[in-house]
Protein backbone atom coordinates (compact mmCIF):
# COMPACT_ATOMS: atom_id res chain seq x y z
CA UNK A 1 0.00 0.00 0.00
CA UNK A 2 1.33 3.44 -0.76
CA UNK A 3 2.36 5.82 1.95
CA UNK A 4 -0.50 8.23 1.46
CA UNK A 5 -3.04 5.49 1.85
CA UNK A 6 -1.26 4.31 4.98
CA UNK A 7 -1.29 7.81 6.39
CA UNK A 8 -4.96 8.22 5.69
CA UNK A 9 -5.93 4.94 7.29
CA UNK A 10 -3.66 5.59 10.23
CA UNK A 11 -5.37 8.89 10.82
CA UNK A 12 -8.76 7.25 10.61
CA UNK A 13 -7.95 4.64 13.20
CA UNK A 14 -6.29 7.11 15.57
CA UNK A 15 -9.36 9.28 15.26
CA UNK A 16 -11.56 6.29 15.82
CA UNK A 17 -9.74 5.50 19.03
CA UNK A 18 -10.36 9.06 20.20
CA UNK A 19 -14.03 8.79 19.29
CA UNK A 20 -14.22 5.52 21.20
CA UNK A 21 -13.13 7.37 24.30
CA UNK A 22 -16.17 9.62 24.02
CA UNK A 23 -18.10 6.70 25.46
CA UNK A 24 -16.33 7.37 28.74
CA UNK A 25 -17.28 11.03 28.40
CA UNK A 26 -20.95 10.27 27.86
CA UNK A 27 -20.95 7.94 30.83
CA UNK A 28 -19.35 10.56 33.05
CA UNK A 29 -21.78 13.27 32.01
CA UNK A 30 -24.82 11.07 32.41
CA UNK A 31 -23.76 9.65 35.75
CA UNK A 32 -22.83 13.05 37.09
CA UNK A 33 -26.02 14.78 36.01
CA UNK A 34 -28.32 12.21 37.61
CA UNK A 35 -28.82 10.83 41.10
CA UNK A 36 -26.52 8.42 42.82
CA UNK A 37 -29.17 5.76 43.26
CA UNK A 38 -29.23 5.18 39.50
CA UNK A 39 -25.53 5.42 38.68
CA UNK A 40 -24.98 1.69 38.23
CA UNK A 41 -27.88 1.48 35.83
CA UNK A 42 -26.53 4.34 33.75
CA UNK A 43 -23.14 2.71 33.59
CA UNK A 44 -24.70 -0.49 32.37
CA UNK A 45 -26.74 1.31 29.72
CA UNK A 46 -23.73 3.16 28.41
CA UNK A 47 -21.55 0.09 28.41
CA UNK A 48 -24.19 -2.03 26.76
CA UNK A 49 -25.04 0.37 23.97
CA UNK A 50 -21.36 0.33 23.09
CA UNK A 51 -21.18 -3.47 23.22
CA UNK A 52 -24.44 -4.13 21.44
CA UNK A 53 -23.66 -1.40 18.96
CA UNK A 54 -20.21 -2.83 18.25
CA UNK A 55 -21.58 -6.29 17.56
CA UNK A 56 -24.73 -5.14 15.81
CA UNK A 57 -23.03 -2.66 13.55
CA UNK A 58 -20.45 -5.23 12.53
CA UNK A 59 -23.05 -7.97 12.15
CA UNK A 60 -25.28 -5.96 9.83
CA UNK A 61 -25.52 -2.23 10.50
CA UNK A 62 -22.40 -1.30 8.60
CA UNK A 63 -23.60 -2.78 5.35
CA UNK A 64 -27.08 -1.33 5.80
CA UNK A 65 -25.29 2.00 5.83
CA UNK A 66 -22.44 1.48 3.38
CA UNK A 67 -23.43 -1.53 1.27
CA UNK A 68 -24.14 -1.09 -2.44
CA UNK A 69 -26.75 1.60 -2.70
CA UNK A 70 -30.36 0.57 -3.23
CA UNK A 71 -32.39 3.47 -4.52
CA UNK A 72 -30.53 6.18 -2.64
CA UNK A 73 -32.21 4.96 0.50
CA UNK A 74 -30.41 1.96 1.97
CA UNK A 75 -27.28 -0.11 1.48
CA UNK A 76 -27.37 -3.76 0.58
CA UNK A 77 -27.10 -5.59 3.85
CA UNK A 78 -24.79 -8.51 4.33
CA UNK A 79 -23.87 -10.35 7.49
CA UNK A 80 -20.70 -10.14 9.57
CA UNK A 81 -18.64 -7.66 7.60
CA UNK A 82 -15.27 -9.22 6.93
CA UNK A 83 -13.52 -7.24 4.22
CA UNK A 84 -10.09 -7.05 5.79
CA UNK A 85 -9.15 -4.04 3.67
CA UNK A 86 -11.92 -1.98 5.17
CA UNK A 87 -11.59 -2.74 8.82
CA UNK A 88 -10.52 0.84 9.49
CA UNK A 89 -13.81 2.04 8.05
CA UNK A 90 -15.78 -0.47 10.06
CA UNK A 91 -13.95 0.67 13.17
CA UNK A 92 -14.46 4.37 12.57
CA UNK A 93 -18.13 3.92 11.72
CA UNK A 94 -18.74 1.61 14.65
CA UNK A 95 -17.70 4.22 17.17
CA UNK A 96 -19.92 6.73 15.40
CA UNK A 97 -22.88 4.39 15.58
CA UNK A 98 -22.22 3.83 19.26
CA UNK A 99 -22.25 7.59 19.76
CA UNK A 100 -25.67 7.95 18.14
CA UNK A 101 -27.02 5.16 20.31
CA UNK A 102 -25.61 6.38 23.59
CA UNK A 103 -27.16 9.83 23.28
CA UNK A 104 -30.56 8.40 24.07
CA UNK A 105 -29.58 6.88 27.40
CA UNK A 106 -29.07 10.25 29.05
CA UNK A 107 -32.50 11.61 28.17
CA UNK A 108 -34.34 8.65 29.62
CA UNK A 109 -32.09 8.09 32.57
CA UNK A 110 -33.39 7.18 36.02
CA UNK A 111 -36.68 5.60 34.99
CA UNK A 112 -36.36 3.35 31.97
CA UNK A 113 -36.40 -0.45 31.97
CA UNK A 114 -33.06 -1.96 31.27
CA UNK A 115 -34.23 -4.71 28.90
CA UNK A 116 -36.27 -2.26 26.88
CA UNK A 117 -33.25 -0.05 26.51
CA UNK A 118 -31.13 -2.95 25.28
CA UNK A 119 -33.64 -3.77 22.56
CA UNK A 120 -34.01 -0.18 21.47
CA UNK A 121 -30.28 0.27 21.40
CA UNK A 122 -29.88 -2.66 19.05
CA UNK A 123 -32.54 -1.34 16.67
CA UNK A 124 -30.94 2.07 16.78
CA UNK A 125 -27.57 0.76 15.65
CA UNK A 126 -28.76 -1.67 13.02
CA UNK A 127 -31.74 0.12 11.51
CA UNK A 128 -32.47 3.71 12.46
CA UNK A 129 -28.98 5.16 12.39
CA UNK A 130 -27.55 3.26 9.40
CA UNK A 131 -30.44 4.05 7.08
CA UNK A 132 -30.44 7.81 7.48
CA UNK A 133 -26.67 7.66 7.60
CA UNK A 134 -26.78 6.00 4.23
CA UNK A 135 -28.63 8.96 2.73
CA UNK A 136 -25.73 11.29 3.53
CA UNK A 137 -22.51 9.36 3.84
CA UNK A 138 -22.71 6.33 1.58
CA UNK A 139 -21.84 8.52 -1.38
CA UNK A 140 -24.88 7.77 -3.50
CA UNK A 141 -27.64 8.46 -1.01
CA UNK A 142 -30.41 10.85 -1.97
CA UNK A 143 -29.27 13.62 0.35
CA UNK A 144 -25.72 13.37 -0.94
CA UNK A 145 -27.13 13.78 -4.40
CA UNK A 146 -28.96 16.91 -3.31
CA UNK A 147 -25.70 18.43 -2.07
CA UNK A 148 -26.47 18.19 1.63
CA UNK A 149 -23.43 18.97 3.79
CA UNK A 150 -23.04 17.24 7.11
CA UNK A 151 -19.36 16.78 7.37
CA UNK A 152 -18.98 14.86 10.61
CA UNK A 153 -22.54 14.29 11.63
CA UNK A 154 -24.34 17.13 13.40
CA UNK A 155 -27.45 15.69 11.85
CA UNK A 156 -26.47 12.18 10.85
CA UNK A 157 -25.20 11.26 14.29
CA UNK A 158 -26.22 13.86 16.83
CA UNK A 159 -29.66 14.91 15.66
CA UNK A 160 -30.64 11.33 15.04
CA UNK A 161 -29.65 10.55 18.60
CA UNK A 162 -31.22 13.73 19.87
CA UNK A 163 -34.60 13.31 18.20
CA UNK A 164 -34.79 9.70 19.26
CA UNK A 165 -34.00 10.92 22.74
CA UNK A 166 -36.87 13.39 22.48
CA UNK A 167 -39.36 10.72 21.51
CA UNK A 168 -38.01 8.37 24.14
CA UNK A 169 -38.15 10.96 26.91
CA UNK A 170 -41.66 11.90 25.83
CA UNK A 171 -42.95 8.34 25.75
CA UNK A 172 -41.31 7.24 28.97
CA UNK A 173 -42.59 10.33 30.76
CA UNK A 174 -40.94 12.56 33.33
CA UNK A 175 -39.25 11.28 36.47
CA UNK A 176 -41.45 11.18 39.54
CA UNK A 177 -41.41 14.55 41.22
CA UNK A 178 -40.04 16.37 38.20
CA UNK A 179 -43.29 18.24 37.62
CA UNK A 180 -45.63 19.10 40.45
CA UNK A 181 -48.65 21.31 39.99
CA UNK A 182 -47.47 22.13 36.50
CA UNK A 183 -44.17 23.44 37.79
CA UNK A 184 -40.79 22.09 36.78
CA UNK A 185 -38.64 21.13 39.75
CA UNK A 186 -34.88 20.83 39.77
CA UNK A 187 -33.61 17.31 40.32
CA UNK A 188 -29.95 17.94 40.85
CA UNK A 189 -27.24 15.77 39.43
CA UNK A 190 -25.30 14.09 42.18
CA UNK A 191 -21.76 14.84 41.05
CA UNK A 192 -21.12 17.71 38.68
CA UNK A 193 -17.37 17.09 38.88
CA UNK A 194 -17.92 13.85 36.99
CA UNK A 195 -20.02 15.79 34.51
CA UNK A 196 -17.26 18.34 33.98
CA UNK A 197 -14.60 15.69 33.44
CA UNK A 198 -16.98 14.05 31.01
CA UNK A 199 -17.16 17.28 29.03
CA UNK A 200 -13.37 17.48 28.81
CA UNK A 201 -13.24 13.85 27.68
CA UNK A 202 -15.89 14.48 25.04
CA UNK A 203 -14.14 17.60 23.78
CA UNK A 204 -10.90 15.63 23.56
CA UNK A 205 -12.59 12.81 21.65
CA UNK A 206 -14.35 15.29 19.40
CA UNK A 207 -11.06 16.18 17.74
CA UNK A 208 -11.12 12.62 16.45
CA UNK A 209 -14.79 12.84 15.62
CA UNK A 210 -14.46 15.90 13.44
CA UNK A 211 -10.83 15.64 12.41
CA UNK A 212 -11.15 11.98 11.51
CA UNK A 213 -14.18 12.65 9.35
CA UNK A 214 -11.87 14.13 6.75
CA UNK A 215 -11.11 10.41 6.22
CA UNK A 216 -7.67 11.38 4.98
CA UNK A 217 -4.63 13.29 6.09
CA UNK A 218 -2.18 12.88 3.25
CA UNK A 219 -1.22 15.83 1.10
CA UNK A 220 -3.26 18.94 1.71
CA UNK A 221 -5.73 17.04 3.80
CA UNK A 222 -3.47 17.69 6.74
CA UNK A 223 -4.17 21.40 6.49
CA UNK A 224 -7.84 20.71 6.23
CA UNK A 225 -7.68 18.55 9.33
CA UNK A 226 -5.75 21.21 11.22
CA UNK A 227 -8.38 23.74 10.24
CA UNK A 228 -11.05 21.39 11.52
CA UNK A 229 -9.39 21.14 14.90
CA UNK A 230 -9.36 24.90 15.14
CA UNK A 231 -12.97 25.39 14.09
CA UNK A 232 -13.99 22.65 16.50
CA UNK A 233 -12.10 24.19 19.36
CA UNK A 234 -13.25 27.74 18.71
CA UNK A 235 -16.88 26.77 18.44
CA UNK A 236 -16.77 24.88 21.72
CA UNK A 237 -15.02 27.73 23.47
CA UNK A 238 -17.36 30.38 22.13
CA UNK A 239 -20.40 28.32 23.00
CA UNK A 240 -19.32 27.68 26.58
CA UNK A 241 -18.65 31.38 27.09
CA UNK A 242 -21.97 32.32 25.52
CA UNK A 243 -23.94 29.84 27.60
CA UNK A 244 -22.19 31.08 30.71
CA UNK A 245 -23.06 34.71 30.08
CA UNK A 246 -26.62 33.93 29.10
CA UNK A 247 -27.14 31.91 32.26
CA UNK A 248 -25.49 34.70 34.21
CA UNK A 249 -27.94 37.15 32.77
CA UNK A 250 -30.97 34.98 33.31
CA UNK A 251 -30.29 33.59 36.76
CA UNK A 252 -27.95 36.13 38.23
CA UNK A 253 -24.99 33.77 38.42
CA UNK A 254 -22.92 31.80 35.91
CA UNK A 255 -24.48 28.34 35.96
CA UNK A 256 -22.03 25.45 35.99
CA UNK A 257 -24.11 22.77 34.35
CA UNK A 258 -25.42 25.13 31.67
CA UNK A 259 -21.88 26.20 30.82
CA UNK A 260 -20.86 22.58 30.50
CA UNK A 261 -23.81 21.91 28.23
CA UNK A 262 -22.79 25.03 26.31
CA UNK A 263 -19.43 23.54 25.42
CA UNK A 264 -21.13 20.40 24.16
CA UNK A 265 -23.66 22.46 22.23
CA UNK A 266 -20.82 24.21 20.41
CA UNK A 267 -19.16 20.92 19.60
CA UNK A 268 -22.35 19.43 18.21
CA UNK A 269 -23.18 22.55 16.22
CA UNK A 270 -19.78 22.80 14.52
CA UNK A 271 -19.73 19.13 13.61
CA UNK A 272 -21.64 19.63 10.37
CA UNK A 273 -19.62 22.57 9.15
CA UNK A 274 -16.22 22.14 10.74
CA UNK A 275 -14.60 21.72 7.33
CA UNK A 276 -16.76 24.21 5.50
CA UNK A 277 -16.55 27.37 7.55
CA UNK A 278 -13.80 29.79 8.55
CA UNK A 279 -12.53 30.16 12.10
CA UNK A 280 -14.66 33.29 12.44
CA UNK A 281 -17.65 31.40 11.14
CA UNK A 282 -16.96 28.65 13.64
CA UNK A 283 -16.79 31.07 16.53
CA UNK A 284 -20.11 32.56 15.51
CA UNK A 285 -21.75 29.16 15.12
CA UNK A 286 -20.50 28.34 18.60
CA UNK A 287 -21.80 31.61 19.95
CA UNK A 288 -25.24 31.00 18.52
CA UNK A 289 -25.31 27.44 19.80
CA UNK A 290 -24.26 28.62 23.26
CA UNK A 291 -27.14 31.05 23.37
CA UNK A 292 -29.70 28.68 21.90
CA UNK A 293 -28.82 25.82 24.22
CA UNK A 294 -29.91 27.71 27.31
CA UNK A 295 -33.27 28.67 25.89
CA UNK A 296 -33.75 25.27 24.36
CA UNK A 297 -33.18 23.50 27.65
CA UNK A 298 -35.60 25.84 29.34
CA UNK A 299 -38.18 25.43 26.60
CA UNK A 300 -38.11 21.65 26.58
CA UNK A 301 -38.12 21.51 30.33
CA UNK A 302 -40.66 24.17 31.17
CA UNK A 303 -42.87 24.50 28.12
CA UNK A 304 -42.86 21.05 26.55
CA UNK A 305 -42.48 19.52 29.99
CA UNK A 306 -40.32 16.77 28.64
CA UNK A 307 -37.88 15.61 31.25
CA UNK A 308 -34.35 15.28 29.88
CA UNK A 309 -31.98 15.05 32.85
CA UNK A 310 -28.80 15.71 30.87
CA UNK A 311 -30.10 18.01 28.14
CA UNK A 312 -29.46 15.47 25.39
CA UNK A 313 -32.33 16.65 23.22
CA UNK A 314 -31.17 20.26 23.28
CA UNK A 315 -27.48 19.50 22.91
CA UNK A 316 -27.68 16.86 20.22
CA UNK A 317 -31.07 17.34 18.61
CA UNK A 318 -31.54 21.10 18.61
CA UNK A 319 -27.91 22.15 18.27
CA UNK A 320 -27.27 19.41 15.75
CA UNK A 321 -30.05 20.77 13.56
CA UNK A 322 -28.98 24.34 14.21
CA UNK A 323 -25.38 23.65 13.25
CA UNK A 324 -26.44 21.88 10.10
CA UNK A 325 -28.61 24.81 9.06
CA UNK A 326 -25.89 27.31 9.83
CA UNK A 327 -23.65 25.59 7.31
CA UNK A 328 -26.04 27.06 4.76
CA UNK A 329 -25.23 30.48 6.16
CA UNK A 330 -21.53 30.27 6.91
CA UNK A 331 -20.13 27.78 4.38
CA UNK A 332 -17.30 29.50 2.55
CA UNK A 333 -18.48 27.70 -0.51
CA UNK A 334 -22.17 28.24 -1.07
CA UNK A 335 -23.18 29.81 2.23
CA UNK A 336 -25.69 32.63 2.34
CA UNK A 337 -23.20 35.10 3.77
CA UNK A 338 -20.65 34.25 1.14
CA UNK A 339 -22.91 34.97 -1.76
CA UNK A 340 -24.23 31.45 -2.21
CA UNK A 341 -27.83 32.50 -1.94
CA UNK A 342 -30.50 30.39 -0.29
CA UNK A 343 -29.80 27.25 -2.28
CA UNK A 344 -27.55 25.50 0.21
CA UNK A 345 -29.63 26.66 3.12
CA UNK A 346 -32.65 25.05 1.53
CA UNK A 347 -30.81 21.82 1.00
CA UNK A 348 -29.60 21.86 4.58
CA UNK A 349 -33.13 22.43 5.81
CA UNK A 350 -34.37 19.55 3.68
CA UNK A 351 -31.77 17.24 5.18
CA UNK A 352 -32.47 18.35 8.72
CA UNK A 353 -36.18 17.84 8.27
CA UNK A 354 -35.96 14.56 6.42
CA UNK A 355 -33.59 12.98 8.87
CA UNK A 356 -35.46 14.47 11.80
CA UNK A 357 -38.70 13.01 10.50
CA UNK A 358 -37.06 9.65 9.98
CA UNK A 359 -35.58 9.53 13.46
CA UNK A 360 -38.78 10.68 15.09
CA UNK A 361 -41.01 8.33 13.16
CA UNK A 362 -38.93 5.20 13.54
CA UNK A 363 -38.17 5.86 17.19
CA UNK A 364 -41.81 6.44 17.85
CA UNK A 365 -42.87 3.20 16.18
CA UNK A 366 -40.24 1.16 17.97
CA UNK A 367 -40.67 2.73 21.37
CA UNK A 368 -44.43 2.84 21.23
CA UNK A 369 -44.47 -0.86 20.39
CA UNK A 370 -42.11 -1.55 23.26
CA UNK A 371 -44.27 0.52 25.55
CA UNK A 372 -47.36 -1.45 24.68
CA UNK A 373 -45.58 -4.78 25.01
CA UNK A 374 -42.82 -5.12 27.57
CA UNK A 375 -43.17 -1.56 28.84
CA UNK A 376 -40.76 1.34 28.92
CA UNK A 377 -40.78 2.21 32.52
CA UNK A 378 -39.78 0.68 35.81
CA UNK A 379 -42.31 0.48 38.62
CA UNK A 380 -42.86 3.41 40.90
CA UNK A 381 -41.20 1.57 43.74
CA UNK A 382 -38.10 0.81 41.69
CA UNK A 383 -37.85 4.40 40.57
CA UNK A 384 -38.19 5.79 44.06
CA UNK A 385 -35.74 3.37 45.62
CA UNK A 386 -33.36 3.70 42.72
CA UNK A 387 -32.78 1.47 39.73
CA UNK A 388 -29.52 0.14 41.06
CA UNK A 389 -30.93 -1.77 43.97
CA UNK A 390 -33.81 -3.19 41.95
CA UNK A 391 -32.39 -3.72 38.50
CA UNK A 392 -28.90 -4.72 39.65
CA UNK A 393 -29.27 -5.64 43.30
CA UNK A 394 -26.39 -3.50 44.36
CA UNK A 395 -25.30 0.06 45.00
CA UNK A 396 -22.38 1.75 43.32
CA UNK A 397 -21.41 3.80 46.34
CA UNK A 398 -20.55 1.99 49.53
CA UNK A 399 -18.80 2.55 52.85
Amino acid sequence: MDTNAVLDIMWIIISGILVFFMQAGFTLVEVGFTRSKNAGNIIMKNLMDLCIGSLGFWAIGYTVMYGDEIGGFIGTPSLFFSDMENMHNLFFQTVFAATAATIVSGAIAERTKFTTYLIFSLIMTVVIYPISGNWVWQGEGWLTNLGFIDFAGSTVVHSVGGWSALIAAFLVGPRLGKYTNGKSNAIQGHNIVLGAIGVFVLWFGWFGFNGGSQLAISGDNVNAVSGILITTNLAAAAAAIAAMFVSWGLYGKPDVSMTLNGALAGLVAITAGCAAVSPVGAAIIGLVAGIVIVFSIEFIDKKLKIDDPVGAVSVHGVCGALGTLLVGVFALDGGLLYGGGFGLLGVQATGVLAIGAWAIATSFIVLYTLKKTIGLRVSKEEEVDGLDIHEHKSNVYND
Partner: protein
Amino acid sequence: MKKIEAIIRKSKFDEVKEALHLIEVNFFSYWDVTGVGNEKQGHVYRGVSYSTSDIQRRYLSIVVSDHFLDRTIDVLLKTASTGIVGDGKIFVSDVEETYRIRTKEKGSDALK
Protein backbone atom coordinates in the same frame (compact mmCIF):
# COMPACT_ATOMS: atom_id res chain seq x y z
CA MET B 1 -26.03 14.98 82.93
CA LYS B 2 -27.54 16.83 80.05
CA LYS B 3 -27.40 16.35 76.35
CA ILE B 4 -27.08 19.50 74.32
CA GLU B 5 -27.94 19.19 70.68
CA ALA B 6 -27.00 22.20 68.62
CA ILE B 7 -27.81 22.61 64.97
CA ILE B 8 -25.61 25.37 63.61
CA ARG B 9 -24.33 26.87 60.38
CA LYS B 10 -21.42 24.87 58.96
CA SER B 11 -19.58 28.12 58.51
CA LYS B 12 -19.70 28.82 62.24
CA PHE B 13 -18.33 25.47 63.26
CA ASP B 14 -14.67 26.38 63.58
CA GLU B 15 -15.44 29.34 65.79
CA VAL B 16 -17.79 27.34 67.96
CA LYS B 17 -15.29 24.56 68.36
CA GLU B 18 -12.59 26.98 69.40
CA ALA B 19 -14.87 28.65 71.91
CA LEU B 20 -15.97 25.34 73.41
CA HIS B 21 -12.36 24.44 73.75
CA LEU B 22 -11.72 27.57 75.77
CA ILE B 23 -14.35 26.64 78.34
CA GLU B 24 -12.96 23.11 78.34
CA VAL B 25 -15.74 21.37 76.59
CA ASN B 26 -13.43 19.09 74.68
CA PHE B 27 -15.75 16.19 74.14
CA PHE B 28 -18.49 16.02 71.61
CA SER B 29 -19.56 14.42 68.37
CA TYR B 30 -20.78 16.11 65.23
CA TRP B 31 -22.11 15.29 61.81
CA ASP B 32 -23.68 17.00 58.86
CA VAL B 33 -27.43 17.15 58.46
CA THR B 34 -29.92 18.91 56.27
CA GLY B 35 -32.02 21.42 58.10
CA VAL B 36 -35.48 22.61 57.27
CA GLY B 37 -36.50 25.90 58.79
CA ASN B 38 -37.13 29.57 58.18
CA GLU B 39 -34.07 30.23 56.09
CA LYS B 40 -34.34 29.94 52.36
CA GLN B 41 -31.46 29.58 49.93
CA GLY B 42 -31.68 30.46 46.26
CA HIS B 43 -30.51 27.80 43.83
CA VAL B 44 -30.33 27.50 40.08
CA TYR B 45 -29.97 24.24 38.27
CA ARG B 46 -30.22 23.88 34.54
CA GLY B 47 -32.53 26.80 34.17
CA VAL B 48 -34.76 26.06 37.12
CA SER B 49 -34.42 28.72 39.79
CA TYR B 50 -35.82 27.67 43.09
CA SER B 51 -35.60 28.49 46.68
CA THR B 52 -35.11 25.72 49.15
CA SER B 53 -35.28 25.52 52.89
CA ASP B 54 -33.20 22.34 52.85
CA ILE B 55 -29.88 23.72 53.96
CA GLN B 56 -26.66 22.02 55.02
CA ARG B 57 -26.14 22.30 58.76
CA ARG B 58 -23.82 20.82 61.31
CA TYR B 59 -25.28 18.86 64.19
CA LEU B 60 -23.37 18.85 67.48
CA SER B 61 -24.19 16.41 70.22
CA ILE B 62 -22.58 17.36 73.51
CA VAL B 63 -23.21 15.55 76.76
CA VAL B 64 -22.15 17.57 79.79
CA SER B 65 -22.37 17.42 83.54
CA ASP B 66 -25.12 19.61 84.92
CA HIS B 67 -22.82 22.35 86.12
CA PHE B 68 -21.35 22.70 82.65
CA LEU B 69 -24.73 23.21 81.06
CA ASP B 70 -25.13 26.95 81.36
CA ARG B 71 -21.74 28.01 80.20
CA THR B 72 -21.94 25.66 77.22
CA ILE B 73 -25.28 27.09 76.19
CA ASP B 74 -23.91 30.60 76.61
CA VAL B 75 -20.95 29.91 74.42
CA LEU B 76 -23.09 28.30 71.77
CA LEU B 77 -25.58 31.14 71.74
CA LYS B 78 -22.79 33.63 71.42
CA THR B 79 -20.45 32.07 68.89
CA ALA B 80 -22.91 30.31 66.60
CA SER B 81 -24.92 33.43 65.99
CA THR B 82 -24.84 35.80 63.04
CA GLY B 83 -28.19 37.44 63.69
CA ILE B 84 -29.49 36.38 60.30
CA VAL B 85 -32.32 33.88 59.86
CA GLY B 86 -30.95 30.38 59.91
CA ASP B 87 -28.58 30.46 62.86
CA GLY B 88 -30.07 27.27 64.23
CA LYS B 89 -31.38 25.81 67.42
CA ILE B 90 -30.19 24.32 70.67
CA PHE B 91 -32.09 21.51 72.41
CA VAL B 92 -31.39 20.34 75.93
CA SER B 93 -32.54 17.01 77.29
CA ASP B 94 -31.81 14.74 80.16
CA VAL B 95 -29.31 11.89 80.06
CA GLU B 96 -29.77 9.18 82.65
CA GLU B 97 -26.45 7.51 82.50
CA THR B 98 -23.10 7.78 80.77
CA TYR B 99 -20.37 5.19 80.38
CA ARG B 100 -16.83 5.51 79.14
CA ILE B 101 -16.26 2.33 77.18
CA ARG B 102 -12.53 2.17 77.80
CA THR B 103 -12.65 2.31 81.59
CA LYS B 104 -16.25 1.31 82.27
CA GLU B 105 -16.54 4.49 84.39
CA LYS B 106 -20.09 5.71 84.92
CA GLY B 107 -21.79 9.03 85.52
CA SER B 108 -19.96 12.32 85.66
CA ASP B 109 -16.63 10.56 85.90
CA ALA B 110 -17.14 9.29 82.42
CA LEU B 111 -17.40 12.87 81.21
CA LYS B 112 -14.14 14.14 82.55
